[in-house]
Amino acid sequence: MELSSEDNNLTEKVLPPIEQESDVELETTVKKYLRGEGADLETLKDKKLKTQLASREKLYGKSAKTAAKIEKWLLPAEAGYLETDGLEKTWRVKQTDIANEVDLLSSRNQYDIVLPDFGPYKLDFTASGRHMIAGGRKGHLALVDMMSMNLIKEIQVKETVRDVAFLHNEQFFAAAQKKYAYIYGRDGTELHCLKERGPVSRLRFLKNHFLLASVNKSGQLHYQDVTYGGMVASIRTGKGRTDVMEVNPYNGVVALGHTGGTVTMWKPTSQAPLVQMQCHPGPVSSVAFHPNGHLMATSGKERKLKIWDLRKFEEVQTIHGFHAKTLSFSQKGLLAAGTGSFVQILGDSSGGSSSHNYSRYMNHSMVKGYQIEKLMFRPYEDVIGIGHSMGWSSILIPGSGEPNFDSWVANPFETSKQRREKEVHLLLDKLPPETIMLDPSKIGAMKPSRRKEKQSREEIEAEKEVAIEAAKSTELKKKTKGRNKPSKRTKKKKEMVENAKRTFPEQGHNNTASKKRRIGEDAAAELPASLKRFARKN
């Protein structure tokens, strides 16, 4: 699967393991698994809670350490890499050079499939990277098993196909066709026609939420729950037509790139965008998200590629003179950009997590005239799939894929039984659409304080009660003889209570009910005389 073991004799070398380095490495992985710092327990006054939290924290530490150790020692495969010595540069290494060095299985992943007639191809891989769906613009849909290179099903829909996307597994895929989007089964049968969305230009599937997100030609964003078919949200973006759409895998937020150079981020539960960023002065041509959700790459038509930190919404890096029609992040964080017939892979050379410095890692030129339509790294493989105007190709990019798959997450070697089991589990673990938010780690935390909080009915009631109580319990001054009569005093008190009540406006359904009635009466009055008797009387 990986390149490293085979590649070391020519261009690559394996570094001897150094003790200290490994310690540092272990620490960093431990940190990763700790998911942030523990709370400062010294501030706590409750001793019981303190000790309990301390023990909990200890357990977390232990868990993280074990996980780090497992990652270090027990995981079966290591990530591949390219390493050059001296003046050699990694981007000078060509696919032919790599092909000479890799094992047979890996070398099978270098190929071109030439399908000149059905026009530029869109690609999508399943989460496990086992299956690929290729959608040619001119209606050719092909479902391919990438492990055995078997063509599972091929259909010709005889319509423009603008995008393809897998649903939760390879059993279903959606295609955005000329007029509507359709969902097909694995055997090519049309299962659903999604008419409500209109002519869809981009399709993406949110696999944790089971939402099929799409943006149509009039710039409307639709979220449809594929479990029961309900349209969860239909949002007018109001930014015109777009065909740049990507999902942040970390939080499920959908990003759209617009012609005005803005990137907007959306969630299904709000009609307004969560974030709008002015990324480029010209139209945004593509957007991609790092799998950890912190980085976003955008490219504009003004030939600039920008990398953004989504935690601060700041630009981290700008790469000039580069316009990418399609962008893709690999699982390990390599960034692929495709323009014309040229693919460039950028790697994060800084290594550290805080500062990012993407620079050239590998290049690949296709045959001139092949127009790249879509780049997508194949999960769990050091392979990138290229959909272009003459079919699709696949090349090797060492160090792009996650070397070890987690069968809890995705299993390329899944049996059908496992797949069924997984499907049920996925459905049980389905997240409701409101869990999509910019920072999902805030779920379960305290409610963020609102600036101007509108009081709820109960609160108003309670306040009113308090005010009335206060009015009742006020001591009246002793007045002169004539004014101190008990009757006067009670009257005065009543008045005070009434005043206290009056400060709280009467709310409730009485008002609305009366309004409704009035509306009904009006309607009755406006009707022609013959129809008046049919007007609703209440």
Binding site: R56, T160, T269, Y370, L527
Partner: protein, 856 residues
């Protein structure tokens, strides 16, 4: 006691004096006082009152200073003796008889008192009465005070705090008396013994406090022993109660093996079961078992009797049923029938019965519908109705309506019968055919047509009201047009049906074996036909039958011609489609190309001419470095595209993949960069204004505060201005604290998502007091997906782990081990038990706890 006595006597005396003394003129009193003064000149002033008391004189009572009167000098021996007058002393100056008398009588009384007093003293001290004689002989010494001494009127010594009584105080008055020395000795001995003065006991609250303090010390000591255990339990993430607990028996066999028969029955059973004889019989031979299985005579008789009884019962029952069968009374049968019906309701559940019932019902219904017995067709009913009596009399009307009701119920269709699915249809048909012949459908259609025509014709526009408004009228018109259109369509459809019906009819007459053609298939084609003569509809509505034949023929012809065409079309289409599918497969070449940037080598595979051409075509271009825009992704003229595609299979080789972007696209791209940043800023401002709205400008209600020029000049009241400014300040602050305050290129919406609110807590859960700590504690997932399997267990362990059925015993004391640390890996059990093999449950040593369960 002594003092009290005295005081009381003195009081008496004073009373007597006051009561009995004659009233003297003031001058005389004065002279008396003057004469008395020299007599007492050597005495101190203090003793005046005692003097007063002793001397039986009428004299002016001087106001005595309070402190002096209150002074308690009863125990001063000097006072007692110094001012004691000799017994023979008599006052010369004053003589009074009546006073003497009173004094004597008093003295006698005092005498008796004294005797008793000495007796008491004797009893108390145990000394001879002689010791007290002197005192008794002496005149009683009186010490007077303004008020009697009591807790409300304490003496000054008491008040000043030096009023400790010593034994000496008590001893002093009896000094020198016989027996005094003896007493003195005894007392000194006693003093030596105790060595100290016995102080008054402490006040109760203080005493109790001390007591509590002492007790607390003890209890603390006792309780502190437990502290470490309680602490450990409180802080433990999990408390275990299940370690090494054996619940006793594990199998049924084990339980059975220890069974001992206890009750009589059990014992009997055991004796039978364990009978040797039986066992042997079983083992040896079955024959012996038969012997043992003998039936006793009594049992046999019992059985016989039972059978006889049952037989006689049966016989009687038969007799009874025979008799009932013979009964001819109608009422009896009616009642019986009712009962049966009631029971039948239950029996309806039985499908057979239900079916039968349904059949009956159906029969009744049919009968009803045939005879129309209850539809007021009878003679009586007709007469009633014709004469209008049904209106006149309520009773008649009720009877008639009842009849109708019965009719309705009887003729109502039964829906519940399951096997009526076919009968439903037949019913419908029946109804349709009811009293009509074959061409009913055509009639129906004619009716429908008539109705639609009517609706089409009467589209009146009201002249007044809301609907007469021009736009309303327009809308109405539009609607009407639509309706007419629809109606026309409907008419055509009717026509269609009619035709088909006619056709069918004609078919029936002409050739039975012919092809059946239904309207639905001809739907698409037919309208064209019928539209032609749609104008004729209005005229020809009566003479349809004449038209039918012709139309039918026409239609049939059309259909016959149309269907093959369509078929061929479909066939061609499908063929093409097949081609489409096949062709790509043939063209798909799995070529492994090792491509350097310039070269394009084909390894192998079936190469088509087209692809070859293409590659050749591309080679020359490959070096050029132009990074032109690729062809555009969207081209809307998809029809042509589709056409091209269909043809493309044949012709695509020559087709260039580059496409010039459409005009709209070009324009969009060209002007895209215009002022984007400014626009964005504007948008941001808008969003900000929406989310943090600007405060409203304060305005005065017109006419208010503008009466005079001065008021106008003054402008808005200061409080309004202040309020406005505050709101403005708040807004700026809000804007500054926004997340996107410093990011010019970003708008971050701060709208609260109400749907997501349920995912947050509104209050901190109980033990937490700070938000940070809570949120930090929530950061780690604890599920099996996120943690190594070795840790998941301890991360998710419940607070209390126990086995079902384990008795949780109270906490037992355990020595503290200062070096012990709570270890989560090796759960320490709170209940230790010696595992006993097959032993009883309760006996193991347990260390349990009950109250100190930890709670998070």
């Amino acid at each position: 006691m002594v003092g009290e006595k005295r005081r009381s006597t003195s009081k008496n005396l004073a009373k007597n004096k006051k009561r009995k003394g004659p009233h003297l003129p003031n001058s005389i009193l004065k002279t008396i006082a003057n004469e008395k003064r020299p007599l007492n000149s050597d005495e101190e002033d203090d003793e005046i009152d005692s003097d007063d008391a002793n001397v039986d004189l009428y004299e002016y009572e001087e106001g005595v200073p309070e402190e002096e009167s209150r002074k308690n000098n009863r125990y001063d021996p000097v006072v007692n003796y110094d001012y004691e007058l000799p017994e023979d002393f008599e006052d010369e100056n004053v003589e009074s008889d009546d006073d003497d008398e009173g004094g004597n009588s008093d003295n006698e009384e005092g005498e008796g008192d004294v005797v008793r007093h000495t007796r008491m003293l004797q009893a108390v001290t145990g000394m001879p009465s002689a010791a007290f004689d002197g005192e008794s002989k002496r005149k009683p010494v009186l010490f007077t005070e303004a008020y009697p001494e009591s807790e409300f009127n304490p003496t000054r010594d008491v008040l000043e705090g030096k009023g400790l009584l010593t034994i000496d105080d008590f001893m002093a008055p009896i000094e020198g008396k016989p027996g005094f020395n003896d007493l003195q000795k005894r007392i000194s001995r006693m003093q030596k013994d105790t060595q100290a003065v016995v102080h008054a006991p402490l006040p109760k609250p203080e005493r109790e406090r001390l007591e509590r303090k002492a007790v607390k010390g003890l209890v603390d000591k006792e309780f502190n022993k437990w502290v470490h255990m309680v602490k450990r339990n409180r802080e433990a993430p999990t408390v275990y109660f299940n370690q090494n607990v054996s619940l006793g028996y594990s199998t049924v066999g084990a339980i059975a093996s220890e069974f001992q028969p206890r009750t009589d029955f059990e014992k009997k059973m055991a004796s039978v079961l364990n009978d040797n004889e039986l066992g042997e019989a079983h083992d040896e031979d079955g024959a012996k078992l038969l012997e043992l299985n003998e039936v006793s005579v009594e049992d046999h008789i019992k059985y016989r009797d039972h059978i006889a009884k049952m037989r006689s019962l049966l016989f009687r029952h038969e007799l009874k049923s025979k008799r009932i069968k013979k009964i001819k009374s109608k009422t009896y049968h009616r009642l019986k029938g009712k009962d049966l019906k009631k029971s039948a309701m239950g029996a309806l559940m039985d499908p057979e019965m239900a079916k039968e019932e349904a059949m009956k019902q159906e029969a009744r219904r049919v009968e009803e519908r045939m005879t129309l017995k209850h539809k007021n067709t009878g003679k009586w009913a007709k007469r009633m109705i014709s004469r209008g009596l049904n209106v006149k009399y309520d009773g008649t009307r009720a009877a008639i309506s009842e009849q109708l009701q019965i009719n309705a119920t009887l003729s109502r269709k039964m829906n519940s019968t399951n096997d009526g699915s076919s009968s439903d249809e037949s019913d419908d048909e029946e109804e349709l055919n009811d009293g009509s012949d074959q061409d009913t459908p055509s009639k129906l259609i004619a009716k429908a047509r008539e109705k639609t025509l009517k609706t089409v014709e009467d589209d009146e526009v009201p002249n007044s009201g809301l609907l007469s408004l021009p736009f309303m009228a327009r809308a109405m018109k539009k609607k009407n047009e639509e309706a007419i259109e629809e109606a026309k369509r409907a008419l055509e459809e009717y026509e269609e049906w009619e035709n088909s019906g006619g056709e069918e009819n004609s078919k029936k007459t002409a050739d039975v074996s012919g092809r059946r053609v239904f309207g639905a298939t001809a739907k698409v084609e037919a309208p064209k036909e019928s539209r032609k003569d749609s104008d004729n509809f209005y005229d020809n509505s009566d003479s349809d039958n004449d038209m039918e034949g012709i139309e039918n023929n026409d239609l049939r012809a059309v259909r016959d011609t149309a269907s093959p065409v369509r078929n061929t079309g479909a066939i061609t289409e499908t063929e093409k489609f097949d081609d489409d599918i096949e062709n790509p497969a043939s063209k798909t070449t799995f070529d492994v190309a090792l491509f350097a940037s310039g070269s394009w080598k084909k390894m192998k595979g079936c190469q088509n001419a087209e692809t070859k051409k293409k590659t050749k075509k591309h080679v020359p271009y490959s070096k050029s470095q132009d990074k032109k825009e690729s062809r555009d992704e969207e081209s809307e003229d998809s029809e042509s595209e589709a056409e091209q595609m269909v043809d493309g299979i044949l012709t695509s080789a020559s087709k260039e993949t580059y496409e010039i972007p459409s005009q709209a696209e070009l324009i969009q791209r060209a002007f895209a960069g215009d002022d984007v940043v400014d626009e964005f800023e504007k948008e941001k401002q808008e969003v900000l204004n929406q989310e943090v709205p600007e405060p409203e400008k304060p305005v005065l209600v017109p006419g208010w505060g503008q009466w005079t020029n001065i008021q106008k000049k003054r402008g808005l009241p200061s409080w309004m201005v202040r309020e406005h400014e505050d709101a403005k300040k708040k807004r700026t602050l809000d804007l500054k604290t926004r997340k996107d305050a410093r990011l010019r290129h970003v708008i971050i919406s701060e709208k609260v998502d109400k749907k997501a609110e349920k995912l947050h807590t509104t209050t901190l859960p109980f033990p937490y007091t700070s938000k940070e700590v809570f949120e930090h504690s929530m950061r780690m997932p604890i599920g099996p997906e996120f943690n190594p399997a070795t840790i998941v267990g301890s991360l998710n362990r419940p607070e209390v782990v126990k086995k079902a059925g384990v008795i949780i015993k109270p906490l037992k004391f355990e020595e503290a081990n200062p070096n012990e640390k709570v270890d989560d890996e090796h759960p320490r059990s709170n209940q230790k038990q010696n595992p006993k093999k097959g032993g009883k449950t309760g006996k193991g040593q347990r260390k349990g706890k009950s109250k100190q369960k930890t709670k998070a």
